[in-house]
Amino acid sequence: MAEQALSGLKIVEYGNFISAAYCTKLMADLGAEVIKIEEPGSGDESRRHGPFLNDEPHPEKSGLFLYLNTNKLGITLNVETKTGQKILKQLLKDADVFVENNPPKKMADLGLDYASLKEVNPRLIVTSITPYGQTGPYKDYKGHSLNTAGLGGQTMRTGEPEREPLAPPLSQSNYQSGAMAATATMGAIFARRSTGEGQHVDISEAEVWATIHLGHGVHLGVFEGRKSIRSGHRTISVYPWCILPCKDGYMCLIAIQGFQWKRFLEAMGTPEWMPDPRFRDRIMVALEHADEMDAMVEALIIGKTKDELFEICRRDQITFAPVRGIDEVAHDSHFAEREYFVEKDRAKTGVLKYPGAPYKLSQTPWQFNRPAPLLGEHNEEIYCGRLGYSREDLVKLRKGGII
């Protein structure tokens, strides 16, 4: 296999569901070796989440698990036993990074808090991704993506003003914290180059929202009384900045510069209301005439398909875009030419398509070398091949429920 950007980095993941798995997926896809630890028997929660191949629930056929665990080695280990903890520490002696997303209290109870792991391997970087972080009054609170997006502020920005606000879909908080954890872990690896020592990377899901996503506007809230605004399918800052229906779906209409809006209206045949003074100031339109304007614009586009409208926009350099459905993106010519979706064969599922590289590195490209592991697929390779256990040991460990 060709050398990749992170070739040589050894990572152990003891995580569940999305955040830790997405963090180590990003690293494994760029060449790091990731050994994923799962509970014997049940495995990662994402194996039970689906979506399942042909809608048949099966722990080896869950799309979420398959997507999040590409390029990893998989072992089973019951870390809640003393023997399990001993084996984990053996693995960590030789590792660069340990990524986990368990409650801080659980890790302390298992004797796997950072202070204990540092004694095992002072060079080890321990990356903990939790809903609220390792410190602070909520550190032991429970939280799912819905809750941390709420606390962190993302939720209050989406939805109709009179109805419940909408959290971002499909566990976005977990992806944000996972990606931030991968970035911060790389920072810790660079720090180790000069200090020679590992450290504890503390990623709080709510805090990722509250800082890099949404911390920049807090000043306006505190000093100018601004509030988060959710205004349904449009914003109230300028018109157009909205999503409106067309013949076969929806179009995203946004024009920050006046000429972009003018160009669009001209392309639509210069409607007679265009010169109306009420519609000249687009900030006022957004505040006071948005419903009326929506209806008039909808009338202009409702007879045209997304593709027809997009073609006009591309021709005239208008900044509007079709709202692509998941199936349309999967077959989109742009994504196809960039070979974004990739196929891979795997036991139990056969050949499947997967979303691929989020970035293209010219020298060390993203690679899909192996599909997500079957539960315990690499037990023998790791326990016998790396840690020196015999086959008989393995049988004993299996009988004891350790692996």
Partner: protein
């Protein structure tokens, strides 16, 4: 000198507005010397966000937040002498970062093929909407267009209802985080091999990557996921519920049956919780609307913090949905310094976003406020590039440094 993860690394940041500057922010927070290249001929629009009560390019709080820890220079890169200065700077730098369109990048002469001539070890990243090639490569977009083109927006809306879409720069930030990871990975490779490289990042591909689950659903079942609202396929209840006060909400997510029993106890076991239609997860999923209505009747009697407190004591995942000022006063965020107050020469004190990660041994920190226009011209052109006072005076006179 304090020890930061990226002490000793230099980044030339050509980016503006949102995605690129946030990527630069992450590197700067880790201690890299990030030099933001600006020009007075065309200001970064983040310096002049419309509707601010303050005036002028030095007082925009949002700009201050996303550009803290950076140095700033002003140079006209359309002037060949300006471009030459920038290339000299590239020669002594490790990373270049831009979010120009591919055409704009080429027009400026800043494409990787040119930059790598002067510095073969350079790691450079561009993060336009659609990448450096492909039918949409030259598309002109704003943040919401990204969500539209990658499928993300099609998921936003109340379950089964019309698409509302993503109107915020959500995917810009997502791209910044992924981009910083890619840059650090490429630097890690360079440290082992001495080889630089170019990273072509399409923001719409990053957007597709964080909704991988939806694509997997399509590939595994042929089903096209549409607007999903707050629903979860595995949890019920799972929603935001109205509380006491104006537009106050609390998020509640109940996973296991044990949690459901704890949730019922916490509500004081109203009679309806015993009804058959709510007896297990599958029944609750089937009767979600009614379930949500009944839960709201309970949450309405309390503040969002009170509901959170009661439920967390019972082991249920709950948290208030917070607005700007509420986040600033939240005790947990306060304890973790999630927001920072820093002095800025033009505004006095700004409240800015805190460091988004906590590294125990080499914490990032805000070492300096966002740069004023051209604030570090002297440092860069005199100290780093060795220009004399008279040379600099002439460059200023001729508006190369501007």
């Amino acid at each position: 000198m304090a020890n930061y993860p990226l002490s000793g690394y230099r980044v030339v940041d050509f980016s503006w507005v949102w995605a690129g500057p946030l990527l630069g922010e992450l590197l700067a927070d880790m201690g890299a010397e990030v030099i933001k290249v600006e020009t007075n001929k065309r200001l970064d629009s983040a310096r002049l966000t419309p509707g601010r009560s303050t005036v002028g390019p030095e007082t925009d709080f949002v700009f201050h937040s996303i550009n803290r820890n950076k140095l700033g220079i002003t140079v006209d890169m359309l002037d060949p002498r300006g471009l030459a200065l920038i290339k000299e700077l590239i020669q002594i730098s490790d990373v270049a970062l831009d979010n120009f369109s591919p055409k704009g990048l080429k027009k400026l002469g800043l494409e990787y093929a040119e930059l790598s001539k002067v510095n073969p070890q350079l790691v450079a990243i561009s993060l336009p909407a659609a990448g450096q090639y492909g039918p949409l490569y030259d598309i002109v977009t704003y943040a919401p267009s990204l969500g539209a083109l990658c499928g993300y927006s099609s998921l936003i809306g109340y379950p089964g209802e019309r698409v509302l879409g993503e109107q915020t720069p959500y995917l810009d930030v997502t791209s910044a985080i992924h981009g910083a990871f890619a840059v650090l990975s490429a630097l890690y490779y360079r440290e082992r091999t001495g080889k630089g490289q170019y990273i072509d990042m399409a923001q719409i591909e990053v957007g597709a990557s964080v909704i991988g689950e939806a694509f997997m659903e399509y590939f595994l079942t042929g089903r096209v996921l549409g607007t999903v609202g707050n629903r979860s396929p595995t949890m019920a209840p799972h929603n935001n519920y109205r509380c006491q006060g104006e537009d106050r909400w609390v998020s509640i997510a109940v996973d296991t049956e044990e949690e459901w029993r704890g949730f019922c106890d916490a509500m004081g076991n109203p009679p309806w919780v015993k009804e058959r239609r709510f007896s297990d997860k599958f029944n609750r999923q089937r009767n979600l609307e009614e379930l949500d209505r009944l839960i709201s009747a309970w949450t309405l009697g309390y503040s969002n913090y009170e509901v959170t407190d009661v439920l967390q004591r019972a082991g249920i995942a709950a948290a208030p949905c917070l607005d700007l000022t509420e986040r600033f006063s939240d005790p947990h965020f306060a304890a973790r310094e999630t927001h920072l107050q820093v002095e800025h020469p033009a505004t006095g004190v700004d409240i800015i976003a805190g460091i988004p990660f906590k590294l125990s041994a080499t914490p990032g920190e805000v070492r300096r406020p966002a740069p004023m226009l051209g604030q570090h011209n002297d440092y860069v052109f005199r100290e780093l590039l060795g220009r004399s006072d008279s040379e600099i005076a002439q460059l200023i006179e001729e508006k190369v440094i501007n």
